[in-house]
């Protein structure tokens, strides 16, 4: 722990660095960019990252347990698209919502089952189910790329809801973050996630139900994706399924990884998600104010993600002795 010598490790960890960068960026933007420090803009920043942050919470739980969920965005967009499509074609609200809940649950269970019981690597499972969910819903259940929210539906009303002039999704994000914090820190199942992520074999040996907990994480991630999807639809009054093919998925991973949640599992928490979300939110907002085209924004985000992964690889090096064959 004292190997660093002239600095103790606490001030060197990734979360601290990222937080410092976020603060520096914030100050720089506040000084350099007109209109950045404006309260409305600040609310916009928080709002812009709240959906991303919610998705990142689900992703964080999965990553801490040494997995990854590449199907999150597909579940988010396609479940809500199907829900709205059902509503638009006259299915009753309760029944439609029940269908969608069942569908989301099924995909979460499928992910979890294949990862936990069939021992298939999470990245392949979720890549495949993500592709399947998008393809199936797009080709079989809905008719066009974007599905609008029906007039006067509660999802539309949700989008208009304000509290203290702050949009409702910010509160949802805060509430979920607090719940996840309690879950990860103070519940038995939450602690299990860390044990299983740190050393799955040891966790299994001491009697933790590793496989059921794995399934739980993917189901949790799927439901979080549904909530994020509903909020997206609420603020945009429709859901555009093309978002699945956008870089949103990588933004989620970016938020989690850049916040300091190691991809090798067992490390990090809700605070890391918040820090990561803050940095990305400030960055995106600043880039938008500077008027960088979206394509270049993608390039910059990709470069940052690459840097984050390299730093992650250096800070959390893969242990060659314990790395499993086929752990790619």
């Amino acid at each position: 722990m004292n190997a660093i010598g002239w600095l103790n490790l606490k001030s060197l960890n990734q979360e601290g660095i990222v937080f410092a960068i976020a603060v520096v960026l914030f100050v720089a933007a506040a000084i350099g960019l007109p209109g950045f420090i404006d309260p409305n803009n600040l609310v916009a920043i928080v709002r812009s990252v709240s959906v991303l942050g919610i998705l990142a919470l689900g992703m964080a739980v999965v990553i801490i347990g040494r997995g990854i969920d590449l199907s999150a965005v597909a579940i988010m967009a396609m479940s809500v698209a199907w829900y709205l499509q059902l509503l638009n074609t006259g299915t009753s609200d309760g029944l439609a919502f029940a269908y969608v809940l069942a569908g989301v649950l099924a995909i979460g269970l499928l992910n979890g089952f294949l990862v936990a019981y069939a021992d298939v690597p999470a990245i392949f499972v979720t890549l495949a189910t993500g592709s399947f969910v998008f393809g199936y819903v797009r080709s079989q259940l809905i008719t066009q790329d974007a599905v609008p929210v029906p007039q006067g539906h509660w999802v539309e009303l949700l989008g208009g809801l304000r509290f203290l002039d702050i949009p409702i999704e910010v509160f949802v994000f805060a509430g979920l973050a607090f719940l996840f914090f309690l879950f990860l820190r103070y519940t038995k199942w939450g602690r299990y996630i860390y044990f299983a992520g740190d050393n799955p074999v040891a966790a299994r040996n001491i009697g933790i139900p590793v496989r059921p907990m794995l399934v739980l994480r993917y189901v949790l991630s799927a439901f979080v994706a549904l909530i994020a999807g509903l909020l997206t639809a609420a603020s945009l009054h429709s859901i555009n399924t093309r978002v699945v093919n956008s870089t949103l998925l990588y933004d989620i991973v970016l938020v989690a990884v850049i916040g300091g949640i190691g991809l090798s599992g067992g490390r990090g928490g809700v605070r890391n998600v918040l820090v990561g979300a803050a940095l990305i939110g400030i960055l995106l907002n600043a880039m938008t104010i500077i008027d960088i085209p979206l394509l270049y924004q993608n390039l910059i985000k990709a470069a940052i993600l690459l840097g984050a992964i390299i730093v992650d690889g250096i800070i959390n090096p893969r242990d060659e002795q314990t790395a499993q064959q086929g752990d790619i």
Partner: protein, 707 residues
């Protein structure tokens, strides 16, 4: 035979259960599933899409296939090395753009465009390789990020230069030829893909760098320990993948004369699915270029077919997702459980009702009645020897035996205290015989028939016979050569006990009880080996009759001795001379009084005889019980039996105390003594035979008094 037993015998003797296990031992079963999928896919789409196999349609699909299969070849190599490359779509698109840019905008020659394309791919691949190979980042996420990066770059470039490309006047015959023409009926891209596949296949299977890739993929740590430069090897796989993708990109640039936002879209998941569906294992080490190509054809046929059938947006992703999930799951489960399945199904017992036998119990009054004479034997090499299966003496009275360690040990006459390793062969030397010129011939378990000259030169005589037409496991190989003897004309007759198990798994063979033992002959004149008889239950000892016109051989698990005629009216046929013995016969050798000695390696028990009539029970036993709780032949008691030329039993002797010679696998008479060996024993016994000819020796009996 009761009705139940008749049913059992039909069920287990007529249904070839054992073939399932034998097929599963084949490496090609790995290819069977993807190949079947390929056939089914082609047949399905060929039948529901009219004109699917028409030449024009095929031409267009194969052009696409050429480009795609190149990308898949690159992906296959990366996956064989234990990695994954998701950035192939981006490399493909960027290479395509490079070619387009150089050719249409800079208006340079097509060859310069090709060079630009390749350079793009190599540089991009090198970046991936550096990050994954040298920095040891996670392949999946890293290439995912470089994929986004490359895609973002491509999108920017394409939107910036799209109009310029449209307005360009550049043309080239070469470009048109590559893009549109055919050469001997196939398009350039298909030719290139075939050449690339062949070169890659040869490199992977027959060159040092290729082996390194497979070794790293198979076990990274072992490869490192073996001195392979793991990081550089991984690096090179990504560079190769970039190279492959860039050729694909160049070809599509030629075909479409431009680059669009759709170029290379979803290519990574298609290539990944193709490789996995074809049977290239995640995590590396297993797979081949051919498998990748099969997967490429399946995926492309499927996606193109669905588009032509008019299914809407998203269908492709749905089908790719299903195919990927199913293929990955099958791959993982298959890898994990293959050996378990094999263990489960390989042992396929058959039904056998053993005949009634006479008792061997002391005092029972039968010819087989055992006594305690062998317990009086002196011991030779006690505690020094492990597993003297067979023993033999030369003209100078020296004693030879094989050991578990693959050696032939010689004990020196007259007291047999001093010993030396006569020769090291390996395997497990079993049956021994001296030929006319004093060469020691040995059946070496798990290896073959060997000869050791008096100067100790070891020479392999035979390790295989001709393969039978209906075999599934390779029955040309000798798995368990057991005993041999030499005819007056110098031909060596020997047995190979089983085709289905290795020598050390003899217990499994006894439980299965399938008749796969053979009698073979090796002809020293032309070095050929022929199979004479097949289909015996564990052929074992062989002994030339005193007149040299026939030979006896033992069939252990059936407790029978057969006579095979070399000359005379029955030449080439075998007849059973002793049946339904109470013991399992092993080696047979000549006795001085014109009779024959036969070893019993164990005794029949009513319980095991009963279990032979219940193949279902034995099958369950091998699956559910640990090996040390299996019921198999009793080898705690054996003996030595003397029989005459007609198969009549003369006498039997044993070691009832079990202290010195509980099981006997061979015995050799020499100058009035009987030398006794046992495959699980730690000594050779020497027993004085009362009334035996004190001058009789085996070499003299075979080859005359003087050499």
């Amino acid at each position: 035979m009761s009705f139940r037993e008749r049913l059992q015998s039909w069920r287990y003797n007529l249904v070839p259960d054992h073939l399932v296990g034998e097929i599963l031992t084949k490496r090609w079963t790995d290819n069977a599933i993807p190949f079947l999928a390929l056939v089914v896919t082609l047949a399905t789409f060929g039948s529901i899409i009219p004109g699917f196999f028409k030449l024009n349609a095929l031409q267009e699909s194969t052009r696409q296939l050429g480009e795609f299969s190149m990308v898949v070849t690159g992906m296959t190599v990366v996956m064989l090395g234990g990695g994954i490359d998701l950035s192939v779509g981006s490399i493909f698109a960027l290479s395509c753009f490079s070619a387009v840019y150089v050719f249409f905008i800079l208006e340079q020659s097509i060859w310069l465009a090709l060079a630009a394309s390749l350079a793009t791919g190599l540089v991009f691949g090198a970046i991936n390789g550096y990050l994954v190979g040298y920095l040891r980042l996670r392949a999946f996420l890293t290439t995912l990020v470089t994929f986004i990066f490359g895609r973002a770059l491509f999108d920017i470039l394409v939107t910036t230069y799209a109009a310029d490309v449209q307005l360009s006047q550049a043309t080239s015959d070469v470009l048109d030829f590559i893009g549109d023409s055919t050469f001997w009926g196939l398009s350039v891209s298909v030719w290139l893909a075939i050449i690339l596949a062949i070169v890659t296949h040869i490199a992977l299977t027959r060159s040092r760098p290729g082996w390194h890739v497979l070794a790293v993929g198979g076990s990274r740590r072992s490869a490192h320990n073996a001195g392979i430069r793991v990081r550089r090897t991984v690096f090179m796989t990504y560079v190769f993948s970039g190279f492959c993708a860039s050729i694909g990109g160049f070809l599509i640039a030629c075909r479409l004369s431009g680059a669009g936002p759709g170029t290379g879209l979803n290519l990574e998941i298609m290539a990944l699915t193709a490789a996995v569906v074809g049977g290239v294992s995640l995590g590396g080490g297993r797979g081949s270029v051919i498998k990748g190509l099969m997967g490429a054809i399946i995926v492309l046929t499927m996606t193109n077919g669905l588009i032509r059938l008019g299914y809407g947006t998203g269908t492709n992703q749905m089908v790719l997702g299903i195919m990927l999930a199913v293929a990955v799951t099958i791959d993982i489960r298959w890898l994990k459980n293959r050996h378990k399945v094999l263990n489960e199904v390989y042992v396929a017992p058959v039904y056998l009702k053993m005949g009634e036998t006479q008792s061997a119990v002391p005092g029972s009054g039968t010819p087989y009645e055992l006594d305690n004479r062998l317990s009086e034997a002196d011991h030779i090499g006690l505690g020094e020897l492990e597993g003297p299966e067979d023993v033999i003496l030369d003209r100078d009275d020296n004693l030879y035996c094989g050991t578990r360690h693959g050696e032939i040990v010689r004990f020196f006459a007259p007291d047999y205290v001093r010993s030396e390793v006569f020769a090291h062969i390996g395997g497990f030397p079993l049956g021994l015989a001296f030929d006319k010129t004093g060469n020691l011939i040995s059946c070496v378990g798990a290896m073959g028939l060997y000869s050791v000259s008096p100067q100790r030169e070891v020479k392999r005589l035979s390790a295989e016979t001709s393969r039978s037409w209906t075999s599934i496991v390779d029955d040309a190989r000798l798995r368990d050569p057991n005993d041999c003897d030499i005819a007056p004309d110098g031909r060596i007759y020997f047995t190979d006990s089983t085709k289905r198990y290795d020598a050390h798994d003899w217990a499994l063979d006894s439980i299965e009880n399938r008749a796969t033992g053979r009698l073979l002959v090796y002809d020293p004149k032309d070095g050929s080996t022929k199979t004479l008889l097949d289909g015996y239950r564990y052929t074992n000892g062989v002994c030339m009759a005193h007149d040299g016109k026939s030979l006896f051989f033992a069939e252990s698990w059936a407790c029978r001795v057969h006579r095979y005629w070399l000359e005379g009216p029955k030449a080439g046929t075998a007849e059973c001379v002793i049946r339904d013995m109470p013991g399992y016969p092993d080696n047979i050798n000549r006795a001085s009084d014109g009779n024959y000695w036969m070893a019993w390696l164990g005794m029949r028990t009513p319980s095991f005889d009963l279990s032979l009539r219940h193949p279902d029970m034995r099958k369950r036993m091998t699956r559910r019980l640990p090996q040390d709780e299996w019921l198999f032949p009793n080898i705690n008691t054996g003996g030595v039996v003397k029989f005459n030329e007609k198969g009549g039993i003369v006498e039997a002797m044993g070691d009832l105390s079990g202290g010195a010679h509980p099981m006997v696998t061979s015995m050799r008479e020499h100058k009035g003594f009987l030398f006794v060996g046992g495959i699980l024993n730690n000594r050779i016994g020497r027993y004085r035979i009362s009334g035996a000819d004190p001058n009789w020796t085996s070499p003299a009996s075979y080859w005359g008094a003087t050499p």
